[in-house]
């Protein structure tokens, strides 16, 4: 065996057929299958091509603004240490993905995928978006590379997220309103797939999270793994050792898998993924597909899904539009079943409280998605010794969410 990863590694999936255990795979209509196979072939070539990665790295540095800082959060650390039992309350670090160009981790993946699109000779770009963050990031890279771009967005989300709709238009994208179903993220993905089926010859679909048919979950993870690789180096530099706990919110799960993946084979690094529990997992208004769902097939992959006994997909709810999806990436389903990552539900109310605390104590307005991760701190810090090191992925900035937060707090702007 000359393989670099050990046989019992958590990092050697997906397998040759695109599966993570029973999850993942390529559940797409026949029309898309040849394209998916081409994409995999092209990605395998790109993976081995130093020129591809040097272009990726250069764009990460000068266009995105990487590396993003690993920031010691002193007042959050003190705050939770004061509340914790004696001797408890670890050092809290933030991985500051919210400082990236366009304000979130989404751009990392978009840069990687548009470079693949160009390698494959595709001349048009499409993407789905919920809150508009992935739409803005896709419109940004499409503008940067001069490719026409259509963003599919649910009619309700277009109404709720007007500033992002305008941003996309400024960047030259066409925003296509999706009127079907619940008119939110899930339906924008359905419509993007419908458009793609009819335009596979010249169109590349930039999927926004580590989900969809193989090889998307793998390549999105690889592009986002820059988060975890940097965190590793930065923590070694600052503390001389690896962190003890990583925390990240999981909608589709790209920021979480990006942070987690480089650490999966370090047994002393624990990991917590946060699912959106909406009004509570005992209600019918949540988006916690691991806690409240079961395995099924949707949008090209097998993964945990919110569904009824007949396999009909049920509506997700979260105050965070980026977590408002009835499934999650297949690798998270596998990490959940293998026990490597612990997944915890956090409600809208808990996230709102954490949002405000982070604003007040650290001078950072976090995205509502990231606020879900921050909301796990009361419980996690109470259990961890004070010499331990904890990293929260602050995956996006919260400027986009101020209207939602104001409404939830009963403030009129």
């Amino acid at each position: 065996m000359t393989s670099q990863t050990p046989v019992n590694s958590f990092r050697n999936l997906p397998d040759e057929t695109g599966h993570f255990g029973q999850f993942g795979g390529r559940y797409v209509a026949e029309t898309l299958m040849p394209l998916i196979l081409d994409l995999e072939k092209e990605y395998r070539k790109a993976q081995q091509d130093p020129a591809f990665w040097s272009e990726f790295d250069a764009l990460m540095k000068d266009f995105v603004g990487r590396p993003s800082p690993l920031y010691f959060a002193p007042r959050m650390t003190d705050h939770f240490r004061a509340k914790a039992p004696a001797g408890k309350g670890p050092k809290i670090y933030f991985k500051r993905e919210e400082l990236n160009h366009t304000g979130a981790h989404k751009i990392n993946n978009c840069i990687g995928q548009i470079l693949l699109a160009i390698r494959m000779g595709k001349t048009k770009i499409i993407a789905e978006t919920g809150a508009g963050q992935h739409g803005v990031a896709t419109a940004t890279v499409a503008a940067r590379f001069g490719l026409p771009c259509k963003i599919f967005m649910g009619a309700k989300d277009i109404e709720r997220q007007k500033p992002n709709v305008f941003r996309m238009k400024l960047l030259g994208a066409e925003v296509v309103s999706c009127e079907s179903g619940s008119q939110s993220l899930k339906d924008s993905m359905n419509d993007a797939l419908r458009y793609w089926v009819a335009n596979v010859h010249d169109t590349f679909y930039i999927i926004g999270t580590a989900a969809g048919p193989h090889p998307y979950p793998e390549l999105v993870r690889d592009f986002q793994s820059i988060i975890g690789k940097e965190t590793r180096e930065q923590m070694l530099e600052k503390e001389g050792r690896l962190p003890d706990m990583l925390v990240a919110a999981v909608g589709g799960g790209s920021n979480a898998i990006g942070l987690f993946h480089p650490f999966l084979d370090d047994p002393d690094v624990a990991m917590t993924g946060i699912e959106a529990a909406g009004h509570g997992i005992d209600t019918d208004k949540h988006a916690a597909s691991l806690t409240g769902g079961k395995p099924g097939v949707l949008h090209g992959n097998k993964t945990y899904l919110l569904q009824d006994a007949d396999g009909q997909i049920t509506e997700a709810h979260s105050i965070s539009a980026g977590l408002d999806y009835p499934g999650l990436g297949p690798e998270h389903s596998w990490l959940h079943e293998s026990g490597r990552v612990n997944y915890v539900p956090i409600t809208d109310a808990q996230a709102l409280e954490a949002f405000q605390l982070c604003c007040e104590l650290e001078g950072i307005i976090p995205a509502l998605e990231s606020s879900h991760a921050l909301a796990a701190l009361p419980q996690l810090t109470a259990e961890m010794d004070e010499d331990k090191l904890l990293v929260v992925n602050v995956s996006g900035r919260g400027d986009k969410d101020i209207f939602t937060v104001a409404e939830a707090l009963g403030v009129e702007l």
Partner: protein
Amino acid sequence: MTRFETAFAKGPALVCFITGGDGDTAANLDALVEGGADVIELGMPFTDPMADGPAIQEANIRSLDAGTKTADVFRMASEFRARHPQVPLVLMGYANPMIARGADWFAGECAKAGVDGVICVDIPPEEDPELGPALREKSVSLIRLATPTTDAARLPAVLEGSSGFLYYVSVAGVTGMQQAAQGSIEDAVARLKAASKIPVAVGFGVRTPEQASAIAKVADGVVVGSALVDLVKQHGTEAPAHLRALTSALAEAVHAAR
């Protein structure tokens, strides 16, 4: 002979699709048979029909809003089988409702209800273990789709393990939107028939007797869906008479090529 073999032995067959639970399904299915449909495809409604155009998407929503459950679809199927012992019946839909209780359960229910074949839009040959073995175990045909993007190298994999007939999706797109150029259909069907031991039926975008007639001259079957679903939407409980009329015209056109 299986029901499929009998149906296709007579010459080009008319294959008609409607969504289960959208309107009075029993009366609508009877109208299709009376009009001359040779094979029936009954759509299983799904919340996220991502390979379908607006007509069939809306039919799915109407059906689910009316409370249609998987058990209802199997009841419609077994009642159809009792009324029409000879007409092949296919269930068409998406993976998740088919595997929600396990593929073995689904295949068993198909066999009990007298369902002859299953078309699953989002299980390509690469994911065959999800459903294919369970269906074959119960002698229910797995009907696969071939498309304009299915090249010669891929075609054997599509045909492997499939039976009943091969469904050629004549346009790269969703259901009911545009029609393919006749020339492209002729080339594709010739290529598919050369490789396939089972009949080749052509669908997607076929709405009129004229189109059906042209396709029947080269293919073993013609599939019509969205045009029929549109009639159900338009006429509600009055749909059977309209379905019968359109099906008769289509059947006459298809059967004239025999």
